[in-house]
C-alpha cells in the first residue's frame, strides 16, 4: 500500500542498531589488534564457538531466553514512557517464586499442572515487584528510575536473606531441588544439544514476545499505552487514565522480567540460586534499546547479546574474555548515541513540530 513509507520506517528502525554494531566491530578490531591478535581469527573463533556448533548454539539460545524476557520487560515499560531499571530484581523474584512453587507442590504433580503453576508464580512475583514503582509513581509522583534502582537492592537482599536463613541446602547458596514443575531441555529432543542448558522456556519467551507485540500494536490497551508513552496529555484528553496505565504497564513489565526466571530455575538448575540474575536485568536495557522497543527487535537483539556473551567464553584462548564486555559496552554506547528514543529520554521531552 505505502511501500516507500513502510520502507522508510523499516530503515529508521534497523539503521541505528546496524550502524552501532558496525562501530562496535571497528572498535573491537582496534582493541584486538592492540592486544596483538588478529581480528579475523578472534571473530571466527567467536562464531565457531557460538553459532558454529550445537553446544555453543544451545548456550546462545539459553542465554537469549532470559534476555528476551528482560528486554521485553524494559521495552514494554518504555513504550509507556517508563524506564524500568528494576528488571534485575523482578527477574530474581520471578525465579525465586518459580523455585518455591516447585518446592511446595507435591512430588509427582503432573507437569501439565505444575509447570503453569510455577510460571504463574514467576509472573506474579515479578509483577508484584514491578507494580511497586508503578503505584509509587501514579499515586505519589515518585520517579520510577529511583524507585526501581533502590528496589533492586531491597529485593535481592531480601531474597538472599530468605534463602540463606531458611531455604538453602547446607554448604550452598541455593534452594533445594524442585519436586515438580521442571520443563524439558532441548537436548531431550535434539541430542546434538547435549550438555547445553537451552530448554523449553525459549518457546515460552518467544511466545511472550508474540503476545507483547499483539498487545502493543493490535489492541486498544496497546493503543492507549503507547499514547501515554508518546504524549500523556493527549492520552488523558483521549479518555485514558494515565496513572492507571502506568501501574498496569509496570505490572506487566515486571511480570515479563519475572518470567525470565523460569529459564534458569525450571529449565536448567531446578533450584533458585543467589546471583543467577546478575547482569541479565541490566543487559535487558541494552537489548530493549538495540531492539528499538519492538518485540521482534528485542528477540534479535537478545540473540546478539547472547552471542557476544557466549562468544566471550570461546575467545578466551586468544584475548581476555573481558574484551567481549568491552564490546557489549561499545554497542550500548553507540546505540545510545544513535537511537532517538534514548536521546529523548536523556534530553527530556522534545518540543512540537516546526511550522
Amino acid at each position: 500500500m505505502t511501500t516507500p513509507a513502510t520502507r522508510r520506517r523499516v530503515e529508521e528502525a534497523l539503521l541505528p542498531p546496524l550502524v552501532a554494531l558496525l562501530v562496535a566491530l571497528v572498535v573491537g578490531d582496534i582493541l584486538i589488534i592492540l592486544v596483538g591478535q588478529s581480528p579475523s581469527a578472534v571473530f571466527s573463533l567467536m562464531l565457531s564457538g557460538t553459532w558454529g556448533n550445537w553446544y555453543g548454539f544451545g548456550q546462545v539460545l539459553y542465554k537469549a531466553t532470559t534476555l528476551i524476557c528482560t528486554g521485553l520487560a524494559v521495552s514494554f515499560a518504555l513504550r509507556a514512557g517508563l524506564f524500568n531499571i528494576g528488571a534485575e530484581g523482578q527477574l530474581a523474584a520471578g525465579g525465586f517464586a518459580a523455585a518455591v512453587m516447585g518446592l511446595v507442590l507435591p512430588a509427582g504433580t503432573p507437569g501439565l499442572l505444575a509447570v503453569p503453576i510455577c510460571i504463574l508464580g514467576a509472573l506474579a512475583a515479578g509483577g508484584v515487584v514491578g507494580a511497586i514503582p508503578g503505584v509509587m509513581k501514579a499515586r505519589f509522583g515518585a520517579h520510577e528510575v529511583i524507585v526501581t534502582i533502590m528496589l533492586n537492592f531491597i529485593v535481592l537482599a531480601l531474597l538472599n536473606w530468605i534463602v540463606a536463613s531458611h531455604l538453602h541446602v547446607p554448604e550452598t547458596l541455593h534452594t533445594p531441588d524442585m519436586r515438580a514443575g521442571t520443563v524439558a531441555r532441548l537436548m531431550d529432543w535434539v541430542p546434538a544439544f547435549h550438555g547445553s542448558a537451552v530448554n523449553a522456556s525459549l518457546f515460552i519467551a518467544l511466545a511472550a514476545a508474540g503476545v507483547v507485540g499483539w498487545m502493543l500494536f493490535r489492541t486498544r490497551a496497546g493503543y492507549e499505552l503507547r499514547a501515554v508513552g508518546l504524549q500523556p496529555d493527549a492520552a488523558e484528553y483521549g479518555g485514558v487514565t494515565v496513572g492507571t496505565v502506568w501501574m498496569k504497564a509496570f505490572l506487566i513489565s515486571g511480570a515479563l522480567a519475572g518470567l525470565g526466571g523460569i529459564n534458569y530455575v525450571l529449565g536448567y538448575k531446578y533450584y533458585y540460586e543467589e546471583g543467577f540474575a546478575a547482569g541479565s536485568g541490566f543487559l535487558g536495557i541494552a537489548v530493549a534499546l538495540v531492539g528499538r522497543n519492538h518485540p521482534l527487535g528485542v528477540v534479535i537483539a537478545a540473540f546478539l547479546f547472547a552471542t557476544l556473551s557466549q562468544g566471550g567464553l570461546a575467545i578466551h584462548a586468544l584475548v581476555p574474555k573481558q574484551m567481549v564486555e568491552v564490546l557489549q559496552g561499545v554497542v550500548i554506547l553507540a546505540v545510545a548515541a544513535a537511537v532517538p528514543e534514548v536521546r529523548r529520554l536523556v534530553m527530556g521531552a522534545r518540543s512540537g513540530a516546526a511550522t
Partner: protein, 524 residues
C-alpha cells in the same frame, strides 16, 4: 527615493528535512529600520527561513548576509545561534524556548547572567529585567516562575529575553496569536519604537490586518518559495491573500459574517450549564465562581486575554482538571466529577487549545488520531475482544479525510507530517464528525492558514445551525465577533460581562478584557 541600506539578504535558500522541502530557492531582502512582514500559509517555509537566519539550521544551498555594525553586508551563511546572538540577531519563537522551573528574570538573563563574586547577581537581574520591561511596556513580574505564566506572559518573556541580549535584528514568529487587541497595540508601539531606534524587525504572520497595520514591506512565501515582494502601502489584504494561496479567497469580516441570531433556535433548556465553578491551579483560584449556560443552537464566545482562567475553565468542563467547587451539567446530567470518557458519552466534544500537546498524538497516524477518545468503540464487536478493528479504523479515516478535506488524503501518514491547518482538521473531524450535543472549541484556528480558518469557521456555524451548543474560546477578538451569538468576557478568573453580540463592540470589550469596569453598565 533611494532604496535603504539592506540589513538582511538571503538568496537562493534551499532547506530540506528528510523528504520535506521546506525552502526551495527562497529569497528575502530586508532594509535597515524596517518592519518587514514575512507572510504565507502554514507550511510555506517562513519559520524555516527565519530559523536559518537565526543560525538554528544551516541551509542546504544559498547565501545569507547580515549587515555588520559598519552597515556592510557580511556573508554569514551557516553561522551558529551564538554567532547570530552576538551579531544582534534575536528570534522570538512561536513555541517558547523557556526553562519552566526558572523565574522570569533568570530566563531573561540566561546565558548573559550578571555576576557578582562568582554568583548570579539576582538583584541586578531583577533590576535589569524590570527596567527593560518598563521601557518597552512589556508587563510581567520578574520574580514569577515561568512555569506559572500564561502563554501570553511567556511570550512577553521571550521578547524581553531577545531585547536583553541587545538584538538589533528582531525576528518574531507569529507574536500576536496570544495577545489581546490592546496588547497587540502595545506590541506595535514597542516595535515602532524599536524601529525608530534603528532596529530591523521581521514579523512572521499570516494575519493580513496585522501586515497592513504594522509593516513597511512584505515578502510572501508559498510552498517554500518567495512568490511576491511589495511595499505595504501598495498592498491590499486581497492582493496579499491571493499571493499567499495562489487563488482568490473570501476574506472573513466581522460585519459580513455576523451571526444569524434570528435563525438560532433558542430553547429554554440549556445544553451546558456551569454554576459557581471554582478551579484551583497552583494554589490560585484560576476559575473563581464562574456561571454560564450555553443553549442548543448557540455559540457563546469567551473573550479575554490569555491566562485569565479560560484554559482552566475549558479543561474543567472537559474533565481534564479537578473542580474545587461548583457544578457542571451537560443537559440534565451532573458531570462535575465524571471521567473524560463519560462526558464524551453524554455528548461532549472538545477541540483543545494545544493540538501538539493534547489534541493529537503526533507520532500516531492520521487514522489512529481520528479515533482518539473513541478507541473503545473500535475494539472488537459483540464479543468484546481486545483487538482494535483496523478495517473500521481505516474506513472511518477514509470517510473523515474526505468529509473534512484533510490533505494529503492518506490515513497512514503520521500526524506530525501534516501542516498545522490539516492537523487541526484532524481534530475537527474527530470531534465534530460524530454525534455530540455540546462542543468546547478552544482556540480552534490558532496557527492555521487562511484557507483552513475559512473552513473551520464554516464548520462552527454549521454546528450552530444543527442545534449544537458551542462554547468558543479565542484569543482573537475578531474570531469571537465573527462567530458568537453572545460574548462573555473573562478576566482574573471571573466572567466580568456577558453581552449580546450586537452590544459587543471592540471598544466595549477591550477595556473589559483588561480589567476595567464596564463604563456603559452600572455595577450590578
Amino acid at each position: 527615493m533611494t532604496a535603504p541600506a539592506l540589513a538582511i539578504r538571503m538568496n537562493g535558500i534551499h532547506k530540506s528535512f528528510g523528504s520535506v522541502r521546506a525552502n526551495r530557492g527562497a529569497q528575502l531582502e530586508v532594509g535597515t529600520r524596517e518592519i518587514h512582514a514575512l507572510v504565507g500559509e502554514n507550511g510555506a517555509g517562513k519559520s524555516t527561513l527565519m530559523r536559518l537566519l537565526a543560525g538554528l539550521y544551516a541551509p542546504d544551498a544559498g547565501t545569507i548576509e547580515v549587515a555588520a555594525a559598519s552597515g556592510e553586508l557580511r556573508d554569514v551563511t551557516g553561522w551558529s545561534p551564538a554567532d547570530a546572538i552576538t551579531a544582534g540577531v534575536g528570534m522570538v519563537h512561536q513555541h517558547f524556548m523557556l526553562v519552566r522551573t526558572l523565574t522570569v528574570a533568570e530566563n531573561v538573563v540566561l546565558g548573559r547572567e550578571p555576576v557578582r563574586g562568582g554568583m548570579l547577581d539576582t538583584a541586578q537581574a531583577l533590576r535589569d529585567v524590570r527596567r527593560i520591561g518598563e521601557q518597552y511596556g512589556l508587563r510581567v513580574e520578574p520574580e514569577r516562575l515561568v512555569g506559572e505564566l500564561s502563554v501570553g506572559e511567556a511570550q512577553r518573556v521571550e521578547i524581553l529575553k531577545t531585547l536583553f541580549r541587545g538584538a538589533r535584528i528582531l525576528i518574531l514568529d507569529e507574536p500576536t496569536a496570544v495577545l489581546s487587541p490592546l496588547e497587540v497595540k502595545e506590541l506595535w508601539s514597542v516595535l515602532r519604537r524599536l524601529r525608530d531606534d534603528g532596529a530591523t524587525i521581521v514579523l512572521i504572520t499570516h494575519k493580513l490586518d496585522e501586515v497592513i497595520d504594522i509593516s513597511d514591506r512584505i515578502t510572501v512565501m508559498r510552498h517554500g518559495e518567495t512568490v511576491a515582494r511589495m511595499a505595504t502601502r501598495e498592498a491590499t489584504p486581497e492582493s496579499i491573500a491571493r499571493a499567499m494561496v495562489g487563488r482568490d479567497v473570501r476574506l472573513r469580516s466581522a460585519d459580513e459574517a455576523s451571526p444569524s441570531t434570528q435563525s438560532a433556535i433558542r430553547s429554554p433548556r440549556s445544553s451546558l450549564s456551569v454554576t459557581n465553578l471554582v478551579v484551583m491551579s497552583r494554589g490560585i483560584r484560576a476559575v473563581d465562581g464562574v456561571s454560564l449556560t450555553v443553549a442548543p443552537g448557540e455559540i457563546l464566545g469567551i473573550a479575554g486575554v490569555e491566562g485569565n482562567g479560560q484554559t482552566e475553565l475549558i479543561e474543567a468542563i472537559a474533565g481534564l482538571r479537578a473542580v474545587a467547587s461548583g457544578t457542571i451539567r451537560l443537559g440534565e446530567r451532573d458531570v462535575t466529577t465524571a471521567s473524560v470518557r463519560d462526558r464524551a458519552a453524554v455528548g461532549l466534544a472538545h477541540i483543545p487549545e494545544d493540538r501538539h500537546r493534547r489534541g493529537l498524538v503526533l507520532d500516531y497516524s492520521v487514522a489512529e488520531n481520528l479515533i482518539l477518545g473513541d478507541q473503545h468503540r473500535y475494539a472488537g464487536g459483540a464479543r468484546r475482544a481486545w483487538a482494535l478493528d483496523d478495517a473500521r479504523i481505516g474506513a472511518n479515516a477514509e470517510d473523515e479525510i474526505e468529509r473534512f478535506d484533510i490533505r494529503p488524503p492518506d490515513g497512514a501518514l503520521p500526524a506530525r507530517a501534516l501542516s498545522g491547518g490539516n492537523q487541526q482538521k484532524i481534530v475537527i473531524a474527530r470531534e465534530m464528525g460524530g454525534a455530540y450535543d455540546v462542543l468546547l472549541a478552544s482556540q480552534p484556528t490558532r496557527g492555521v492558514d487562511v484557507g483552513a480558518i475559512e473552513f473551520i469557521h464554516g464548520q462552527l456555524r454549521a454546528a450552530r445551525e444543527a442545534g449544537k451548543a458551542v462554547l468558543l474560546v479565542s484569543a482573537e477578538l475578531s474570531e469571537i465577533l465573527a462567530l458568537a451569538d453572545r460574548v462573555a468576557v473573562m478576566y482574573g478568573g471571573h466572567i466580568v460581562a456577558i453581552l449580546p453580540r450586537r452590544e459587543a463592540t471592540e471598544d466595549r470589550l477591550g477595556p473589559l478584557m483588561t480589567g476595567a469596569t464596564d463604563p456603559t453598565r452600572p455595577a450590578a
